[in-house]
């Protein structure tokens, strides 16, 4: 297959890269651009470990072709951090609440959680549960993740 040149806007920077039409966004971000915060977990769009924001909306990197992402803003977890890798307030809540164990699901979980808070303002715990349904966690039992997202939603809702 012939490769084609694409320019991907990832975390606010343009990356020029050569991809095959069949290359997934996950493969290109992880293997070519070295973004280890986007992870292969199932390749079926079921587990959520490859979640990225495409123009602000959570998508599965394993179900998105790299060529489809051209012309759109791609945000990975690292894109949330400020200069000097200052943690996003939602990441601080994850730390404080002990919302990570193995950490493999964490980037996707944080991105999806950020989206629901941004969409709904102060979502209820049940609304957060609904939003995170496509981001599986095998370690925490979700309780501390929900605690962290609720804490962040409270912070974000403050005037």
């Amino acid at each position: 297959m012939t490769k084609r040149r694409v320019v991907l806007d990832v975390n606010g920077r343009d990356h020029e890269t050569w991809v095959q039409p069949s290359d997934t966004l996950l493969d290109v971000l992880h293997d070519q651009l070295g973004l280890a915060d986007v992870r292969y977990g199932c390749g079926e769009g079921v587990c959520g470990t490859c979640t990225v924001l495409l123009d602000g909306e959570p998508v599965s990197g394993c179900l998105t072709l790299a060529v489809q992402a051209a012309g759109h803003r791609v945000t990975t977890l690292r894109g949330l951090m400020g200069p000097g890798d200052v943690l996003h307030p939602l990441q601080e809540c994850f730390l404080r609440r002990g919302a990570a164990q193995c950490g493999f699901c964490t980037p996707g979980m944080v991105l999806t959680a950020l989206d629901v808070v941004q969409r709904l303002g102060r979502p209820t715990r049940e609304e957060i549960r609904d939003a995170l349904v496509g981001n599986l966690c095998r370690c925490t039992g979700y309780t501390k993740i929900l605690d962290a997202v609720e804490e962040y939603a409270d912070l974000a809702a403050e005037p």
Binding site: G103, T106, R138
Partner: protein, 770 residues
């Protein structure tokens, strides 16, 4: 605060700091096994059998080798010593069956590796794997333990289909059952379960200075010795580095990618990466053993158990893996946290042509919970006693004998955990709507922590006070994500008084770290926690003499805190850096290696008497469920869990272990089933294997008992495995309370619940139509 084992109030132990690996994890910057690239790296792929039982009449690799970009295609003939051997279990001879790395002339399960390829891209490796032409002549197989043990059953291995049988005997069961006021009987069945860690099996290997080095997601770096044997290399020429894992749960306790990576690196002399597909992992990785358990329990009219007869048969699948030990743990824990004066327990591991079963959080001691707790519920209902009452009457206490003849030498606070778990639930639930039955269940358990005692377990740790007063820890521990490394830092910080941020921990390297023996069996806090506690205490004792001299005090008066050593709270103090410099001037080493040894003992497999495990963690879960009588759907309304952890080194991590373990247990109880049909795994997609999501179950409410009587550091007990054990029993108990029929088969799907609802004697129906 009270004075403690360390002679000073705890400052760090008992708090819940977020430690180094957690910061990396929420940053997304932690590099897992798949996140490693090297120049010239190849991509490896395993070719697997599509059938469960067949003779291999030929393998043609010519087409695969001819594909441009393919660098190696290897088969059994390319392996110096084609055996993955397991050390025998205590008292038993060496296992006669070894698993081949690559099948030579016979495949025994679907997914068994037959060849391995390396290519310059993952796509070419996939294509080459497709081009490996294997001729399979299918053979009859056996797919369940009952047919495997029948006369004339096809043999999985020439030695016969029973891999191992354990017996534990005490008292006279036949006489006690005959004399019992009541006897209750149950037959319980559990299913194949997938670990489903979110990080699939992965690693990268390379050659460096003549040393074969693998950086892999593994619970056990000590597999380096097995890899050396397979390649007939000196053990000094194989190095295994364990990454922080994206979950393990026992599924990375056996080797996964290691031997295949090692073969490809050794043959190609190039770096190789291998990642198993999720679908490949579902089909071919090890599973939790399905158990068939038959129990007969005799008791007095007041509920006191007098006898228990137990038969357990575990489906080992096609190869031994860790089945002998899993079935041993099942036998040793078959009677749960209860006093059973007359017991006859038999457990067997049986070969089938199913995917191999092996370690999975709970390790045999968890499957039996469904059965021994089911028996308690049957007994309670038969005698008209409450579920709590019948349990209280039989709980073990310190000083009691187990059926193996061992005396319990630490406290048993299972009663307290039961009362606290029930207190968390509060008032019993009301049916949410007509057509719904509600019930409350409890499930108590006894789960070992630490290896089987005959392994004479030990762990080493090395600590160093650096010239600037910071601290290094080196330990061969591997970290599954439960904070195994972080706990070591908290213990060292407590003893040496160094701020947590000043402590770095280097783990998981078979070449550079003192051996810690792998992370499994809920053993690392117990083993390496004690090793670090001893290393730090011995180091402190050495340098305290110098500090006392500098401060004009005596060593036992000193307090190590906040990066300083204080003569007394108001008196003079020096920094750890000043102390390190003073030690340096006196040529006193500020580095120290300590080895901690678990207690040892022996077990006689002929008499079924002897020592089994160093100690146990006890706990109780309680749940309220609602059962929809039309659909059979079970809704968990509330869920509470309480365990005695001895001492909580990091309470938040303890809660996390309990919540996560309970959630895995809820999946096991109500949904997860790999569904292996005639050797074919039905759940070929992750979408078909349902692990709990954020919406499936309520929050797990947690209470912790700290009895201070564990054998871990500072009185801690292990909590990694225990909290998964109670769940299925708790949910079954709640369902039985709701519908009046006792579930005995997992998972408790709506179809199975509907079938149970049909069995209800109409007299016992208690439907609520409010």
């Amino acid at each position: 605060m009270t004075t403690t084992e360390l002679g000073q109030a705890y400052r760090v132990v008992g708090t819940s700091p977020a430690h180094h690996d957690f910061v990396d994890k929420v940053r997304g910057s932690l590099l897992y096994a798949a996140d490693w690239q090297l120049p010239g790296m190849l991509y490896g792929r395993v070719v697997r059998s599509p059938v469960p039982s067949a003779r291999i009449s030929g393998i043609d690799v010519a087409a695969a080798r001819a594909l441009p970009g393919v660098v190696a295609v290897l088969t059994a003939a390319d392996i110096p010593d084609n055996r993955i051997t397991e050390r025998a279990s205590g008292g038993l001879a060496e296992l006669e069956v070894a698993m081949p790395v690559l099948a030579a002339d016979r495949v025994r399960y679907m997914g068994e590796p037959v060849a391995v390829v390396a290519a310059v891209t993952p796509q070419i490796a996939d294509e080459a794997a497709e081009l490996v032409a294997v001729d399979y002549a299918e053979l009859p197989g056996v797919f369940d333990v009952t047919s495997a043990r029948a006369d004339g059953a096809p043999l999985v291995h020439d030695v016969g289909n029973t891999l191992v049988t354990w017996q534990i005997r005490c008292g006279d069961v036949a006489a006690a059952l005959a004399a019992a006021d009541v006897v209750v009987e149950g037959e319980y069945r559990t299913q194949h379960v997938e670990h489903a860690y979110l990080e699939p099996e992965a690693g990268v290997g390379w050659l460096e200075n003549g040393v074969l080095t693998l950086r892999v997601s593994t619970q056990i770096i000590e597999h380096a010795a097995t890899i050396a044997q397979i390649l007939r290399l000196p053990q000094s020429k194989v190095r295994v580095i364990a990454t922080y894992m994206g979950g393990g749960f026992g599924g990375k306790e056996d080797m996964t990618v290691e031997p295949y990576l090692a073969l490809l690196v050794w043959h190609t002399r190039r770096p190789v990466r291998m990642i198993w597909d999720r679908q490949e992992s579902l089909v071919a990785s090890t599973k939790r053993h399905p158990f068939l358990m038959r129990y007969r329990t005799g008791a007095d009219r007041d509920g006191t158990i007098t006898a228990q007869q137990v038969e357990i048969i575990g489906d080992a699948g096609a190869y031994p893996n860790l089945s002998p030990r899993v079935l041993f743990a099942a036998a040793a824990c078959a009677c749960g946290p209860y006093r059973v004066p007359n017991a006859a327990i038999t457990s067997s591991a049986v070969f089938t042509n199913n995917v191999p079963s092996s370690a999975f959080r709970g390790f045999g001691a968890m499957q039996v919970t469904l059965a021994y707790e089911g028996q308690m519920d049957l007994l309670a209902d038969r005698l008209g006693l409450s579920r709590a009452r019948v349990r209280e009457r039989n709980f073990l206490v310190k000083g009691d004998l187990l059926p193996t003849g061992e005396r319990l030498d630490t406290c048993v606070e299972v009663g307290q955990t039961m009362r606290r778990a029930l207190a968390l639930l509060g008032e019993p639930p009301r049916p949410p709507r007509p057509g719904t039955l509600t019930g409350r269940g409890i499930g108590c358990n006894r789960q070992p922590y630490g290896r089987t005692i005959w392994f004479r377990d030990r762990a080493s740790a090395w600590l160093s006070l650096q010239p600037d007063g910071t601290v290094l820890i080196r330990s061969g521990v591997t970290d599954l994500g439960a904070g195994q490394a972080a706990s070591l830092c908290q213990i060292a910080a407590e003893v040496l008084g160094a701020p947590l941020d000043d402590i770095s921990v280097y783990i998981g390297d078979s070449a550079l770290n003192p051996p810690a023996g792998g992370t499994f069996a809920t053993r690392q806090l117990y083993m390496s926690g004690n090793a670090v506690l001893h290393a730090a205490s011995e180091l402190r004792e050495r340098i305290a003499a110098v500090a006392a001299e500098m401060l004009g005090s005596s060593p036992d008066q000193l307090e190590f805190a906040d990066g300083r050593v204080h003569a007394d709270p108001e008196g003079p103090s020096i920094t750890l850096a000043e102390l390190a410099a003073a030690c340096d001037q006196r040529a006193i080493s500020t580095a120290h290696l300590a080895t901690w040894r678990a207690e040892s003992g022996s077990f006689d497999p002929r008499t079924g008497q002897g020592d089994t495990f160093p100690d146990y963690t006890y706990g109780t879960h309680a749940a309220d469920v609602a059962v929809d009588v039309e659909t059979g759907q079970v809704t968990v309304v509330r869920y509470a869990a309480c365990h005695d952890v001895g001492r909580a080194i990091n309470p938040m991590r303890v809660q996390g272990q309990i919540q996560g373990g309970a959630m895995q247990g809820l999946g096991y109880a109500l949904a997860e089933d790999l569904a292996v049909q005639d050797g074919y795994v039905q759940a070929g997609l992750f979408a078909n294997y349902l692990i709990p999501n954020s919406r499936d179950f309520p929050d797990v409410e947690v209470d912790i008992v700290e009895s201070g009587e564990g054998k871990g550091p500072l009185g801690a007990r292990g909590i990694g495995e225990p909290p998964i054990g109670n769940v299925a029993a708790t949910i079954a108990s709640a369902i039985a309370d709701a519908i009046g029929v006792h579930p005995a088969e997992l998972p408790m799907t709506p179809e199975r619940i509907l079938a149970l609802l049909d069995q209800r004697p109409s007299a016992t129906r208690k439907e609520h139509h409010r």
